[in-house]
C-alpha cells in the first residue's frame, strides 16, 4: 500500500481529516523550502503538496504565479525540486509528499526517467494540472508499477461520469477544486461544496481533498466536516510574499496559520 493510502486510513481510524499544505519549491529562495516542509509537518500537516515551478502556470492565480517566478529566478526546476525531496526524506520517512505542477517539465525529462527519479527520492504522488485521464495512460502506468499515486482534479462542473473516470484512473486521493477559477480566487461556497461532495463520494471510494479558496481556520473547519482533506496553498504563499525581507517572519506566520487550521479541524471532529 502506498504511503498516501496508509495515511488516509490512519486518519480515518482516528476520526481526523487531512491537512494538506501547498508551497512552491524554491520560493522565496531554495534554502527556505526543506526546513519549511519540516515545520509544516510539526504544525500538523498530514500530507505535503510541493509545487514544481513552471514558467507558464495557466491554472494558477497571481499569488502562485509570482511564487513560481521567484523560484525560477533561483533556477529551481524539476531536478532541483527532486533534490529538495531527497533532502526532506533524510529526516522524514513518514509524511506523504505529492509533487504538484504542470506536464511539460515531466515531458521534457521523459516519463520513464521521471518515474525512476521520483521513485529514487521517494515521492508518493504526482498531481499534474494539465494532464486529464484521457492523456494520462502512459504516465499512470509507469507510476503504478512503482506504487506511486497519480492524483486527479475534479471541478465544480465535473459530472458523475467524470468522477467515475477519475476514480478508475487515479489513486491516493482526488482533489476537488472548489470553485470555477484559478488558485487563490475568491471564497468558496461551503453549501455548494457539500452538495457536490455528496455526489462525488457516491462515485468514488478514494479520499477527497478540497482546495482553492481555503483562506483561514474557519473555512478549514467547515470543510473538514464534509471532506477527507483540506488543501491550503495561496494563503500560505501570501505569507511568504508579505515578508520577502523577513523569511523568519514568513515561516512563523505560516506555522501559526497551519496550527490554527489543525486545531479548528480537530475540534470539529
Amino acid at each position: 500500500m502506498s504511503r498516501l493510502a496508509d495515511c488516509f486510513q490512519a486518519l480515518q481510524e482516528s476520526g481526523r481529516k487531512a491537512l494538506i499544505p501547498f508551497i512552491t519549491a524554491g520560493d522565496p529562495f531554495p534554502e527556505f523550502t526543506v526546513p519549511m516542509l519540516h515545520e509544516m509537518v510539526k504544525a500538523g500537516a498530514d500530507v505535503i503538496e510541493l509545487g514544481v515551478p513552471f514558467s507558464d502556470p495557466m491554472a494558477d492565480g497571481p499569488v502562485i504565479q509570482r511564487a513560481s517566478e521567484r523560484a525560477l529566478e533561483h533556477q529551481v526546476g524539476l531536478r532541483k525540486v527532486l533534490s529538495m525531496v531527497a533532502e526532506f526524506r533524510k529526516t522524514d520517512q513518514k509524511t506523504p509528499l505529492v509533487l504538484m505542477g504542470y506536464l511539460n517539465p515531466i515531458e521534457i525529462m521523459g516519463y520513464q526517467e521521471f518515474a525512476n527519479a521520483i521513485q529514487r527520492v521517494d515521492v508518493d504522488g504526482v498531481l499534474t494540472v494539465d494532464l486529464p485521464p484521457e492523456e494520462a495512460h502512459d504516465c499512470v502506468a509507469l507510476l503504478k508499477e512503482r506504487d506511486i499515486d497519480q492524483i486527479f482534479l475534479l471541478a465544480p462542473n465535473s459530472d458523475a461520469e467524470r468522477v467515475k473516470k477519475m476514480d478508475a484512473a487515479g489513486s491516493g486521493y482526488l482533489y476537488y477544486v472548489s470553485l470555477k477559477g484559478v488558485t487563490g480566487a475568491g471564497h468558496l461556497d461551503t453549501d455548494d461544496v457539500e452538495e457536490k461532495l455528496a455526489m462525488i463520494k457516491q462515485n468514488t471510494c478514494l479520499p477527497v481533498g478540497v482546495g482553492f479558496g481555503v483562506k483561514n481556520a474557519e473555512t478549514a473547519k467547515t470543510l473538514s466536516k464534509i471532506a477527507d482533506g483540506v488543501v491550503v496553498g495561496s494563503a500560505l504563499i501570501s505569507k511568504i510574499e508579505a515578508n520577502l525581507n523577513d523569511p523568519q517572519q514568513a515561516k512563523q506566520e505560516i506555522i501559526e496559520l497551519l496550527s490554527s487550521m489543525r486545531q479548528a479541524m480537530d475540534e470539529s471532529n
Binding site: F54, D56, D130, E135, N157, D159, R162, K180, G181, V182
Partner: protein, 400 residues
C-alpha cells in the same frame, strides 16, 4: 502517400501531437465546443451563413496575384501571392473569427475572449464581436501592447476591452495563459476564440477548417490561371494558422512542396528566435503536445522576433506532425532577412506586407531563383503592413 490524409483522430491527435492537455474545469467546455463544432460543420444552414459572411463581409475570394515584376527580378519561379491582406481587417485572421463567432452565437455564449500577439487576431475578434453584439475581452502581452499601439486603439474603437498582461515575458504566450485563466473562471457564459491552430482539441482542427478556404481558393485560382497546380507553397509560421490554411487542401497533392517559415529573430544559432520546429523539441503547452522552445527543466524559453505575431514558443500540432512525416519543410528567416522581404515587395509590387508575412516573402526570395521560370510558388500574403509602420519607422529612427 497513398491514403487520403485525415488527421486528427477523434481525440485531436496528429500522431503523438495535439490532444487535450487542460485543467479539469475546462474539460466540459471543451467537450461542449467539440460537439457543437462537429455538429455545425455538417449543418448546411451554418455553412451557408459562414459562406455568405465570408463573401459579403470579409470580401472573399481574395485574389491570387501574379507578382510578375518581382518574379522577373528574382529570375526564377513565378511568384503568386494569395492576397489575405485584402480581407476585411487586413489579415487572414478574420476567416476564423467569423466562424468561431457564429458558433458562439449558436451555443448561446454572450461573452467572447481572445488572446492576441500582433493584434490582428484581437482586431478580427473585436470586429465580429461588434457585429454580433457580443461582449469582447482581448488579452495582449504588455510588450505587444506597446509595439502594436495602433491595433490596440482599433480594438478599443470596436468596443473591446484590451487587458495588458504583465506576467512572464509579457507577449503572446502570456496572453494565452491569461485568456485560459479567464475562461476557467467564466466558463459558463464565455466562448474563447483561439486565433491559431494550437490549443486543446478541437481548436487545431477547427481553426484549420475555417482557414482552409485560403488553400481551397488558391488551388482553384491557380488551376484557372495557369492550368496546373503550384510547385511550392510558402507561408510564415508562428502558431501556424495561415500556413495550415494554405497547406491543408494540398496535402494529398504530393508533388506540391510546402515550406513553413519560422522566425529566426537574431538567428537560430543565437538562441534569440521563435523557431520551435527548427530548433525546439516536443513538449506540452497550452493544451496540446507539439514542438516547443523549452530548456532542460521544461521551462518555456523566451522568444524573440521583430514580428509580434510570430513571437510564440510553440506551434500548431499539425505542423509538428507534417514535419515529422516529412510532408512539409520548416525553414527560418531572421529579422534582417524579413526586413529585406518587406522592402522588396513594397518597392517591386507596391504592396506593403505585414512583418509576419515578410518572413514568407524573404524565403520566397531565396527559393524562387533556385527554380525554373515555368514553375510556380504561391506565397501566402497573410496580412498587410499598416500595423507595422510604427515599428518600421522606429527602426529607421523616424518619428511619425
Amino acid at each position: 502517400m497513398t491514403d487520403k490524409y485525415d488527421m486528427p483522430d477523434e481525440n485531436g491527435h496528429f500522431g503523438p501531437y495535439g490532444g487535450i492537455f487542460v485543467a479539469e474545469t475546462l474539460m466540459p467546455a471543451i467537450t461542449e465546443l467539440n460537439d457543437a463544432y462537429q455538429k455545425y460543420l455538417k449543418d448546411p444552414e451554418f455553412i451557408a451563413e459562414l459562406d455568405a459572411d465570408l463573401q459579403h463581409y470579409v470580401g472573399r475570394p481574395s485574389p491570387l496575384y501574379h507578382a510578375q515584376r518581382w518574379s522577373k527580378e528574382l529570375g526564377g519561379a513565378q511568384i503568386y501571392l494569395k492576397r489575405e491582406d485584402l480581407n476585411h481587417t487586413g489579415a487572414h485572421k478574420v476567416n476564423n473569427t467569423i466562424g468561431q463567432a457564429l458558433l458562439a452565437k449558436r451555443m448561446g455564449k454572450p461573452r467572447i475572449i481572445a488572446e492576441t500577439g500582433a493584434g490582428q487576431h484581437g482586431v478580427a475578434t473585436a470586429t465580429v464581436a461588434a457585429r454580433l453584439g457580443l461582449e469582447c475581452v482581448v488579452y495582449m502581452g504588455a510588450v505587444d501592447v506597446a509595439r502594436q499601439a495602433l491595433n490596440v486603439y482599433r480594438m478599443k474603437l470596436l468596443g473591446a476591452t484590451v487587458v495588458p498582461v504583465e506576467s512572464g515575458s509579457k507577449t503572446l504566450k502570456d496572453a494565452l495563459n491569461e485568456a485560459l485563466r479567464d475562461w476557467v473562471t467564466n466558463i459558463d457564459d464565455t466562448f474563447y476564440i483561439i486565433g491559431t491552430v494550437a490549443g486543446p482539441r478541437p481548436y487545431p482542427a477547427m481553426v484549420r477548417d475555417f482557414q482552409a478556404i485560403i488553400g481551397r481558393e488558391a488551388k482553384q485560382q491557380c488551376l484557372d490561371m495557369t492550368g496546373k497546380l503550384p510547385d511550392a507553397l510558402v507561408a510564415c509560421v508562428g502558431g501556424g494558422s495561415n500556413a495550415i490554411g494554405l497547406f491543408h487542401p494540398f496535402i494529398d497533392d504530393a508533388e506540391v512542396k510546402m515550406y513553413g517559415v519560422e522566425a529566426a529573430g537574431d538567428g537560430v544559432e543565437t538562441g534569440r528566435h521563435s523557431a520551435p520546429l527548427c530548433a525546439g523539441r516536443p513538449g506540452v503547452l497550452h493544451g496540446n503536445r507539439t514542438y516547443l522552445m523549452a530548456d532542460d527543466d521544461g521551462e518555456i524559453i523566451e522568444t524573440h522576433s521583430i514580428s509580434a505575431g510570430l513571437d510564440y514558443p510553440g506551434v500548431g500540432p499539425e505542423h509538428a506532425w507534417l514535419k515529422d512525416i516529412g510532408r512539409a519543410e520548416y525553414v527560418n528567416i531572421t529579422d534582417e532577412e524579413a526586413l529585406q522581404g518587406f522592402h522588396a515587395l513594397t518597392r517591386m509590387e507596391g504592396i506593403i506586407p505585414a512583418l509576419e508575412s515578410s518572413h514568407a516573402m524573404a524565403y520566397a526570395m531565396k527559393l524562387a531563383p533556385t527554380m525554373d521560370k515555368d514553375q510556380i510558388i504561391i506565397v501566402n500574403l497573410s496580412g498587410r503592413g499598416d500595423k507595422d509602420m510604427h515599428t518600421m519607422a522606429q527602426r529607421e529612427g523616424i518619428q511619425i
